[in-house]
């Protein structure tokens, strides 16, 4: 037994039907990519939950929301001066995103190769598992849009973007029906994506216990629904006129 597996590990005469694996071992290893996806994906889910908590402050009022936005920029002051923490955090997110997307696409390509020429009929109706690559790529586009819209304030941002007035930027952006619709649809896709993603984390990190698996399975669905419904409520509230500037 050895990790050098290109050849048969024992010296028995090779049966005529048996041949050494023709394909080289994939690099990076599949299991490492899966673990990378699980770890970075968990970071994103934690981020989404914190982000959601921040989003919901929009219902408290403009002052509170803007105060929170300002607080984020100076997080951990004076231990870490200025926006140091914010930029360190952004760096972690960016690296995680690159690793997550790279691993996801690599695994998808490997999966398509290993499937062979014939399509499979699906018995299990786990929507998420088949659509991870597509929901993931759409969410990636959404992230770019979202940062341009509400962080940078360029290209796709609503007119009158003000760096210090996060509340007004948000309301003005969601007052555009097409943007509200796009946010809404993306929230539904994120829900599909993370419901399967969280369930995958327990598998990829090797959770084999019956109770653990049942709990995470239920939790995955619950988190997905909470994230989708709570986030969706904001563009809907803006469109219906419950949330306005001033």
């Amino acid at each position: 037994m050895s990790s050098e597996t290109t050849y048969r590990p024992d010296a028995d005469p090779i049966p005529s039907a048996a041949r050494p694996a023709a394909t080289p071992a994939p690099f990076p290893p599949t299991w490492a990519l899966k673990v990378t996806m699980a770890v970075t994906g968990s970071i994103f889910v934690a981020f989404i939950l914190f982000h959601l908590a921040g989003n919901l402050k929009v219902y408290i009022g403009a002052e509170d929301f803007n105060h929170y936005a300002e607080w984020l920029r100076h997080l951990l002051n004076p231990l870490i001066p200025g926006s140091g923490f914010l930029w360190a955090f952004r760096a972690v997110m960016a690296i995680s995103l690159v690793l997550h997307v790279y691993s996801g696409i690599t695994l998808w390509v490997r999966a398509r190769r290993a499937r062979g020429a014939h399509a499979r009929r699906f018995l299990v109706r786990r929507l998420g598992s088949r659509t991870m690559i597509w929901t993931g790529l759409i969410v990636l586009c959404f992230i770019v849009f979202h940062i341009l819209d509400l962080t940078v304030g360029k290209i796709v941002a609503a007119p009158g973007f003000a760096p210090d007035d996060a509340y007004s930027n948000l309301i003005h952006s969601f007052e555009r029906p097409a943007v509200a619709l796009f946010y809404g649809l993306t929230m539904a896709l994120i829900a599909v994506h993370i419901s399967h993603g969280i369930w995958s984390v327990v598998n990829d990190l090797g959770g084999t216990g019956t109770r653990l698996r049942a709990v995470v399975f239920a939790l995955a669905g619950a988190i997905a629904v909470v994230v989708a419904v709570a986030n969706l409520s904001i563009p809907i509230a803006v469109q219906l006129g419950f949330l306005t500037v001033g």
Binding site: W31, R115, G206
Partner: protein, 249 residues
């Protein structure tokens, strides 16, 4: 009962395969799917045609030799039953039943319904064994195993290596197969000696020829031995354990 069988015919690994329709006029409900193929082959031999090549051995669900996709489902319409235990009564008079070999890039078609499943053998060769002296049997009670542990190990040792999990998987992954063996041997005192080495070796070999797991769950539905889905998590659990411990055991 009259059934139309659409059977995959392919003369050699290199040949182009196709579905060939055959009519079975006298199928009976109590026939297994393999007996249905036997009936078809009798018909073909009587008509001086080439019989359909398919594998079977024990025909009682313990050997793992039989394996066909039936209407796109490994082994047949019933969950967790091998092809030999699937019966014609699952179909209705006049139904068209599509029978093809197990599908995966890791399974080359040798002829008709026979595929090369030695990729699975190579995973076992990479570490699905225990290094113990084979000689006089040792005293039965010299290594103690709890009842619970032996039962759990048996659940995973139940894998018959048929390859249905790979064929069911849209990713052509062999996680259920590999995980079952890793789990089984990790629960036994003899197997535990090489637990780390085994995980590294078997997972690497698995990745040579089979795809990544997406936690879809088709494999556990198809598995005729009823290996639980948690086996797929065992693969990464054992591999991570080996990475963190860096020991042979």
């Amino acid at each position: 009962m009259r059934l139309i069988l659409e059977v995959w015919r392919q003369a050699s690994p290199q040949a182009q395969g196709h579905f060939e329709p055959y009519e079975i006029a006298d199928a009976r409900e109590e026939m297994s799917l393999l007996e249905l193929l036997d009936r078809l082959n009798h018909q073909l031999i009587e008509a001086n045609q080439d019989p359909v090549a398919f594998e079977s051995d024990c025909r009682e669900g313990i050997c793992g030799t039989c394996g066909i996709d039936v209407n796109g489902t490994p082994h047949g319409p019933e969950d967790n039953v091998p092809a030999c235990g699937q019966h014609v009564r699952s179909f209705h008079d006049g139904d068209t039943v599509r029978i093809e070999p197990f599908r995966a890039a890791g399974f080359t078609i040798i002829r008709d319904l026979i595929v090369d499943r030695t990729g699975l053998d190579r995973i076992i060769q990479a570490g699905g064994t225990v290094a113990v002296d084979a000689g006089t049997a040792m005293d039965a009670d010299s290594v103690l195993v709890t009842h619970e542990q032996s039962e759990q190990a048996l659940d995973f040792a139940a894998c018959i290596g048929c390859g249905a999990c790979v064929s069911a998987c849209p990713n052509g992954a062999a996680y259920l197969f590999t995980g079952a063996k890793l789990k089984h041997l990790s629960l036994m005192p003899h197997g535990r000696m090489e637990r780390g080495k085994r995980a590294v070796s078997m997972v690497a070999q698995m990745e040579h020829e089979f795809g990544p797991c997406s936690q879809i769950g088709e494999c556990a539905l198809a598995c005729p031995a009823g290996v639980p889905l948690s086996a797929i998590a065992t693969v990464n659990a054992e591999r991570l354990r080996a990475m963190l411990r860096h020991r042979d055991n």
